[in-house]
Structure formats: structure tokens, C-alpha cells
Subunit: 218 residues, 2 copies
């Protein structure tokens, strides 16, 4: 059955792989599932046709026959449940991998998003300079808890899983800030993720969309 995802027609990150479609592309590449991409303009995100697929007006969405999903965690879990390679077969290890998926989106991503909000959405506000250390401190505290748990392991819990895919995807959003470099084992973990051939293919595919939008000259 054909899988179709949505992505930004013009990605705000200018093809750096930080938009959330990259997570889904990566999962599909890991399991070898071909997919089609429908590009969506910022205007179309808020229109009824897209809101029917994604009530919060974001990308990506995932369509497969009669099934329509949103939320990258849910989409990646759906892919991981239907194909081998992203979840351990043993029940307890599988539950722990799913735990890391939730930890990525519910515990690690919020302070990373707060940093983005403080830098971009509130970047021109008078409190920016005074407030930023608090925002960075909350983020460093979270990374300072993740780092010892990861230790010198290659992945979070045994073999590479959907938990690592989500955690690495979330942490990569720190790259513009450089804060991840304060935690060498986290930096090395991100580099291992980025070195995976499936990630490379996903990155190249989203990058090609940005380059096409540029050469379209508008």
C-alpha cells in the first residue's frame, strides 16, 4: 500500500534536516519502505483539508490506504510495529524502547523547544538576555541526566531502536545552539545516528526539497 507523508514546501530550517518530516523519512528508510511526499505551503497548513489530517496544522502527516496519522512519535511507532528493525522482539526490551520514544518527545524535547521559542519567537523581547540563562539551565539539567544514563553505550538500550531514532532526532534540534557539545557522549551519539545510511538518505531527501525550492527562484 502506498505511504504518503507531508512536508513543508519551504522548510523554515532551510534544509538542515530539523523539520519533523525527517524523523518519519528516517524511520521509513530504516525499514526499507518506499514513500511519497506531498509538499504543503504554510497557508495550506491552516486550511480545512490539511486540518482534517492534522488538527494542529503541522507536518508531517502519514497516509496509508484508509489510515491517516499525525504526531511523529505515533507515526514512527506505527512503522516500527509493522516492519522489522526498529523495535526489539522481546517484550520487555520492546516496552523499554517505546519508553525512550516517549522520553524523547515528552521529557527531552520540551526544554529544547523552549530554547527555540526563547531565541526565535521571543528573540526581540526585552527579557531575552536576562531570561536565557534560566532556559539554558533547564535544558542543561535534562541533558545532564541523559548523559550519564547513555554513558559510553552505542545506543540507549541495546541495539539501535525507534527510541534512539526519536531521541537523536529531538537532540539534533540543538545543533544550531551548540549546547549538545558540552556533553561529549551525547555529541558522539548524535554523530552515530547521523552516520547511519538510512539517516543519510532521509537527510538527502529533505535537502533536495529545499534545493528544488531555491532553484525554482521564488
Amino acid at each position: 500500500m502506498t505511504v504518503t507523508i507531508t512536508a513543508f514546501e519551504r522548510s523554515p530550517d532551510r534544509g538542515r534536516g530539523l523539520s519533523r518530516d525527517t524523523r518519519v523519512r528516517w524511520a521509513l528508510e530504516e525499514v526499507g519502505q518506499p514513500y511519497e511526499v506531498r509538499l504543503v505551503s504554510f497557508e495550506a497548513l491552516k486550511e480545512p483539508a490539511h486540518l482534517a489530517l492534522h488538527p494542529f496544522g503541522q507536518i508531517p502527516t502519514y497516509e496509508e490506504g484508509d489510515l491517516a496519522l499525525f504526531e511523529t512519535g505515533s507515526i514512527v511507532l506505527h512503522i516500527a510495529e509493522r516492519h522489522a528493525g526498529l523495535l526489539p522482539k522481546e517484550a520487555n526490551a520492546r516496552a523499554r524502547a517505546i519508553t525512550w520514544m516517549f522520553a524523547a518527545v515528552n521529557t527531552v524535547e520540551p526544554p529544547i523547544l523552549d530554547l527555540a521559542i526563547a531565541r526565535i519567537q521571543e528573540g526581540d523581547k526585552p527579557w531575552r538576555a536576562e531570561r536565557m540563562p534560566l532556559v539554558e539551565q533547564r535544558l542543561r539539567e535534562r541533558l545532564g541526566q541523559l548523559s550519564p544514563r547513555l554513558g559510553e553505550a552505542e545506543w540507549l538500550d541495546g541495539a539501535f531502536s525507534a527510541g534512539d531514532l526519536m531521541m537523536i532526532s529531538v537532540l539534533l534540534r540543538l545543533k544550531p545552539s551548540g549546547i549538545h557539545e558540552e556533553f561529549p557522549n551525547i555529541s558522539a551519539y548524535l554523530a552515530r545516528g547521523e552516520a547511519r545510511p538510512a539517516y543519510q538518505r532521509a537527510f538527502a531527501a529533505q535537502r533536495a526539497v529545499f534545493e528544488a525550492s531555491q532553484s525554482a527562484g521564488s
Copy 2:
């Protein structure tokens, strides 16, 4: 097999049901799974024994034989997968219910937490008054997207599911602010959740912990 969860010895919300153990208690009550509770002090949360169970030093955790989990989304999904009553049997409906679980923790909870951070952690900061409208605006935007999707339906997608359990749990954290009351259908949705006998039992159980800590007189 005995299920043991952790909860705050002294809940910061003073027994109002807003600590995250309530979500897990609710799920266990919905499926009729008995459980034991181990209370943890604030000091013990940061000690190695607890960090081995929960790398981010929070509650709740979930132990069942050799399995140890953290993250409420993961724990509730684990319970829902092993017992009838919290996930539809039909594959597509099941995937959509899991989508709402992720939407609760990754899309709806972050702006609710930001409001709590702005009011409590940054409540004494000089930017509080000027910044608060921005924080509330981001939250109202999210609720303003959820409200039309919910419409006049009883639950988010057909029968009550783990998706509703997570979404309602997350939204209940708005009660101290009253902002949910600006969206009557969301308020009614929360009231339907709170009226469920399983929620009532979960609420009473967490409340009893608070009351015992008070009568202990310390």
C-alpha cells in the same frame, strides 16, 4: 505479577490529582489491575536507586517482575496493550488512539507546562507580567485547535481510549488556571473524564496519600 508504581511522598499539588502518578493509577483502574505504590521523597528522587529506574529523577515508575518503565505515555500504553479496555481492537483505530496519546504529551502538554513554568518557576521574575500574555496566547492557540476537532463528540475518536485518558490527564493540569473554561466543549470533556468511576478511584487513592502525609503531622 505484582505491579508497583512510585508516587510522591508529599505531592506538590497537595492531593489535587495533578501529579503524574494519577494517570497511571487511572489506567490501572480502568483495566482492573491491582497495584502497589512505593512513596518517594524529593531527596530520594535524585539518589542512584531511583535514577536507575528513572534517569530523569521523576515519578511515576512502573515495575512488574523484571520490567521497569518510566514515562507515563509508555506506561499507559504498556497497560493498554496487555489488558482490554483502553485501545480499540481494529488496527487503524488503535493507531489513531496512540496518535492522541502522543498528541497529548508532545503537542498539548508543552504549552501547559510552559504556563506552569511562567507562573511558578518564573513567578518572581521581572518579565512575568509582560511575558504571560504570550505564554497564554500559545496555549489558547493549541486549545483553539483541539476544541473544533473534539466538537460535540464524547471522546476524541469513538470509544474512550488511552488517547482520551492521556489527553484529559494533561488538560486537567489547566484547572488551577481556569483557561480550559474558555472552551466549553473541552471543559465538558474533562468533566466526562473525571466522572468515570476508574478516575474517581484513582483520584481518591492519590488523595489518600496526601491526607495521610498531613495527619502524620510533619
